[in-house]
């Protein structure tokens, strides 16, 4: 009856769901695309990747992922996990099982984040594997001879993860509110596209919009400084704490559950 039981029950529910497959396919998409490009345009790209091949490879990989695909994936995962209950009419059954509302809310939210971290891990693994594979086929590349800057890679991962925290809490709250799948995804998509446009215009207040945080992190990473949290990353943590609490209280004090 403890939190671990609730979490393990939630994880079992994701078996064979769209959210599970999307985490794998989402993680493989860009590495696979890169592998194709590297293979079919080897002459040009191999020259570009001569110096620091891994650094460039990961930099470009995250660049392609962070601005749109990653937030879109977060929006979808946050919507799909609560949808498991909506779709199967199972909310009432969940609420009438001996679990506190806190257990229900946080085990679900943690499941969302475990899926996100699973996707992150897979993305890194696929990036490395596909690059090595390309190198085995085409000896022009130098991935096999160079080493990976692990601390820089971890930093890149950690910072992008922090940058999506705010979005995840907002989207999870919205997805618990709306029975209809389209509503939270639609709202998220509109805000995301709006943020991308605002970033493009270089709006001064863009660091306050959670949906712009992943791009901002990516732009700030080009300096390659030590692990310092940028303003917008602190904002992202702030949004995360605020909307996680709001989402929990909203569920806790709902008049009619399920």
């Amino acid at each position: 009856m403890n939190f671990a039981a609730s979490l393990s029950s939630e994880l079992l529910k994701t078996k064979r769901t769209a959210s599970f497959w999307m985490s794998i396919i989402g993680a493989a998409f860009i590495p696979a695309l890169f592998a194709l490009a590297y293979t079919f345009n080897a002459d040009k790209i191999a020259i570009k990747l001569k110096v620091m091949p891994w650094g460039q490879h990961f930099g470009q990989g995250w660049q392609s992922l962070s601005s749109f695909l990653l937030p879109m994936y977060i929006i979808l995962v946050c919507a799909l996990i609560p949808q498991i209950e909506f779709k199967n009419n199972a909310w009432k059954q969940v609420f009438s099982s001996p679990q506190s509302t806190g257990q229900i809310f946080f085990s679900k939210f943690l499941t969302v984040h475990l899926l996100i971290l699973f996707c992150y891990t897979l993305f890194n693994v696929f990036m490395i594997l596909f690059a090595l594979l390309v190198n085995l086929i085409n000896s022009k590349y130098t991935f096999l001879d160079s080493s990976i800057n692990w601390s820089q890679l971890m930093q890149l991962n950690a910072k992008t993860y922090i940058s999506i925290l705010g979005i995840s809490a907002i989207q999870f709250w919205l997805s618990l509110r709306f029975k209809n799948f389209i509503a939270p995804v639609g709202i998220g998509l509109v805000l995301l596209i709006g943020s991308i446009i605002a970033t493009g215009f270089g709006w001064d207040h863009v660091y306050k919009i959670p949906y712009a945080h992943p791009i901002l992190t990516l732009m700030s990473m080009k300096g390659k400084g030590p692990l310092v949290l940028e303003n917008h990353e602190l904002n992202s943590i702030g949004y995360f704490v605020f909307f996680t609490l709001l989402g929990f209280l909203d569920l806790r004090f709902r008049k009619e559950k399920g």
Binding site: M1, A5, S6, S8, S9, L12, K13, K15, R16, T17, I84, K87, N88, N89, A90, W91, K92, Q93, F95, S96, S97, P98, Q99, S100, K255, E256, K257, G258
Partner: protein
């Protein structure tokens, strides 16, 4: 179950207030709420496993409940491929996982085919007799209730209008029953049967129905007094009519 906020009064279950001991009470209660709430992408076993983890029941319990509801042979079949009757039975299995003392079933035979209705009814009876589970069933199919329940409550517009054993309701039903009689001389017949509570209504004679022997005795009285009997018909209220009477306030 804590799904709705309590607006007034207090709910006590197993001698405990549900507002304070909700989780403790829920550990002893199994429920099936409205339509089956199963995870369509999971198998019968996985569906049970989801709740087994929460209740902390032993793993062996899964096979036990599957046998109990006759779903042991479904293997890797997903819940979405189940018939409605199977889904309903699997939902009852979920509700039974933690050996609850009290089982709450909301419209368990709703939308089932005749076969499914019989299966569910037999299962409910068996659970009560063999496992000693107390079961609360809500239903609007009155004939179904008449066949399953020992005690009945009738709720209409938020008010509990009747509560008691089924036998009490049946007595109420008998009180409402009457015998219709038509003879060659109804005026004389009413006089003869006055002590049986007979009265004239719509050109016919009516008197309260007590038992079958009473009807035969009345026939004999009428014939002994040379009256030709054209009609002698007991009119018994069924539960449906009784329900209408109770809810419209005529009892």
């Amino acid at each position: 179950m804590g799904l709705l906020k309590n607006q007034q009064g207090a709910i006590r279950l197993f001698d405990k207030d549900i507002a304070k001991h909700r989780i403790e009470i829920l550990k002893n209660v199994g429920s099936l709420i409205e339509q089956p709430s199963l995870y369509a992408h999971l198998t019968a076993k996985e569906n049970l496993e989801v709740y087994r983890k929460i209740y902390g029941s032993p793993k062996s319990r899964i096979d036990e409940v599957l046998k109990l509801v006759d779903l042991a042979g479904t293997g890797s079949k997903k819940a979405k491929q189940f018939s409605l009757g199977m889904k309903q039975r699997l939902s009852i299995a979920v509700a039974l996982l933690h050996k609850p003392e009290l089982l709450i079933l909301d419209e368990p035979t709703n939308g089932l085919d005749p076969n499914g209705i019989i299966e569910t009814r037999e299962l409910i009876k068996r659970l009560n007799k063999e496992e000693g589970v107390t079961i609360i069933v809500s239903s609007h199919i009155l004939a179904e209730i008449e066949r399953m329940a020992s005690h009945v409550g009738i709720i209409h517009k938020g008010k509990l209008l009747f509560q008691g054993p089924l036998s009490e309701l049946q007595q109420l039903k008998n009180k409402q029953s009457f015998v219709q009689v038509d003879t060659s001389d109804n005026d004389a017949a009413v006089r003869l049967l006055a002590e049986h509570g007979a009265e004239q209504k719509n050109g016919l004679i009516q008197f309260p129905f007590q038992h079958r022997e009473g009807v035969a005795a009345i026939a004999q009285i009428l014939i002994a007094n040379n009256l030709a009997v054209y009609l002698l018909q007991p009119q018994q209220n069924d539960l449906e009519q009784l329900f209408l009477h109770i809810t419209s306030g005529t009892i």
